[in-house]
């Protein structure tokens, strides 16, 4: 009688251990697969990311060559002014590119602005936005963006009718980068 009971007990312990063991093994195998995949794809992802950032910088400052980080989250972050997350400068002294953002209608609007050596806007590119398609997204179109080019102050920029909030968000984001530009020029002349 006791022998039978012992076997039954043994079975029930195994009943608990085996499933958990199998699950653990599966977890370990899957985790190992993930870690190896990550190791393989990490450099490729980083490269793709850097390529896109580089293309954006080139687009807003076509004359620039050799963009190097000047102010970022890691390099002199205390010199970053409000609303600005990154400043890159062109090694050939063509100017700077500044990444800034503000809240739009549907979410954060992130832009990158190119400045020439004298602090005038060369071009603007929208990196991220969640504005209303067909309305707020018009802030990314030529007719709106060209109002900013060649200026070093925010004036004479008309909002798009029906997309006031998106337009104001863009203007604020550009203002932040203008402020940063001023700070840089002040530092330069000191």
């Amino acid at each position: 009688m006791t022998a039978k009971k012992n076997i039954k007990e043994k079975n029930s312990i195994l009943d608990y251990i085996t499933p958990s063991l199998v699950l653990m093994i599966i977890c370990l195998v899957v985790t190992a697969a993930l870690v190896s995949t990550y190791q393989v794809t990490k450099p490729i992802i980083a490269e793709a990311l850097e390529k896109r950032s580089q293309e954006a910088r080139q687009e807003v400052l076509p004359e620039g060559k050799g963009f190097t980080p000047m102010l970022t989250g890691e390099i002199n972050p205390d010199q970053l002014t409000k609303g600005v997350s990154e400043v890159y400068q062109a090694e050939n002294n063509a100017g700077w590119v500044i990444t800034s953002e503000d809240q739009g209608y549907g979410g954060t609007m992130k832009i990158i602005t190119g400045f020439d050596a004298n602090g005038f806007i060369t071009n603007i590119k929208i990196l991220e936005q969640s504005e209303t398609p067909g309305l707020g997204t018009k802030v990314g179109e030529e007719f709106f963006l060209e109002q900013f080019r060649g200026k070093d102050k925010l004036e004479g920029v008309d909002a798009i009718s029906g997309a006031t909030i998106s337009s104001e968000a863009m203007k604020r984001a550009v203002q932040w980068s203008l402020n940063q530009m001023e700070e840089i020029r002040k530092e330069g002349t000191e």
Partner: protein, 196 residues
């Protein structure tokens, strides 16, 4: 404080989880027929969301992020959520049977649902602090409740109306959802105007 109010208002009205972000559609369209189940489900979802946030956020900030293991967040979060809910269901059954009777049946149905995992992933993506994440989760649940209750009322009206055969059942529900989503779009832009 203002930050938290903004987050709450955004996630309940403007960026409603169901009607704007499309998270939690399955329970939304499947459970909203009766008001009781709609409310019960919403409370269960809110409960799980807040709990899941409370547990997954520290795991991410203290374990995954420092060791550069962010890519493991999907698998870690889903396992944590599934295990957590199992645990809660068992403890509820044992210690608070009343709650178990009203919420309990919905718990297993939402463990692996887009709403909960979505809420947890969004907390990380939006880079909220711990407190902000909790309020985000709470707001998401409240928004879910709001959408469910409104929709439940509408569905009960639809039930008793003649509908063309092809549209009977699911398509009519989707059309109604479309109009409710439209109405919620009207909330867009109020955040800036109230708080700025």
């Amino acid at each position: 404080m203002k930050e938290i109010l903004i987050i709450l208002m955004s996630v309940i009205l403007v960026d409603n989880f169901v009607l704007s972000k499309f998270l939690g559609i399955c329970p939304f369209l499947g459970v909203s027929k009766k008001l009781n189940s709609a409310v019960g489900m919403s409370f269960a979802v809110t409960f799980v969301m807040i709990m899941a946030t409370a547990v997954t956020y520290p795991i991410y900030t203290n374990l995954l992020e420092p060791y550069k293991l962010e890519y493991l967040q999907t698998i870690v979060f889903i396992l944590v959520i599934a295990a957590l809910v199992q645990l809660v269901e068992i403890s509820l059954k044992k210690y608070v049977p009343i709650l178990h009777r009203s919420l309990g049946i919905y718990l297993p149905l939402i463990t692996t649902n887009c709403a909960v995992l979505g809420a947890v992933l969004l907390n990380i993506k939006e880079e909220y602090t711990y407190i902000q994440s909790i309020f985000n989760a709470m707001g998401a649940g409240i928004g879910f409740l709001l959408a469910m209750v409104l929709f439940s009322g509408i569905r009960q009206r639809i039930e008793h109306n003649p509908i063309p055969l092809a549209f009977k059942g699911v398509p009519s529900i989707l059309m109604a959802a479309s109009i409710v989503a439209l109405s919620f779009m009207g909330f867009g832009g109020i955040i800036e105007n109230i708080f700025n």
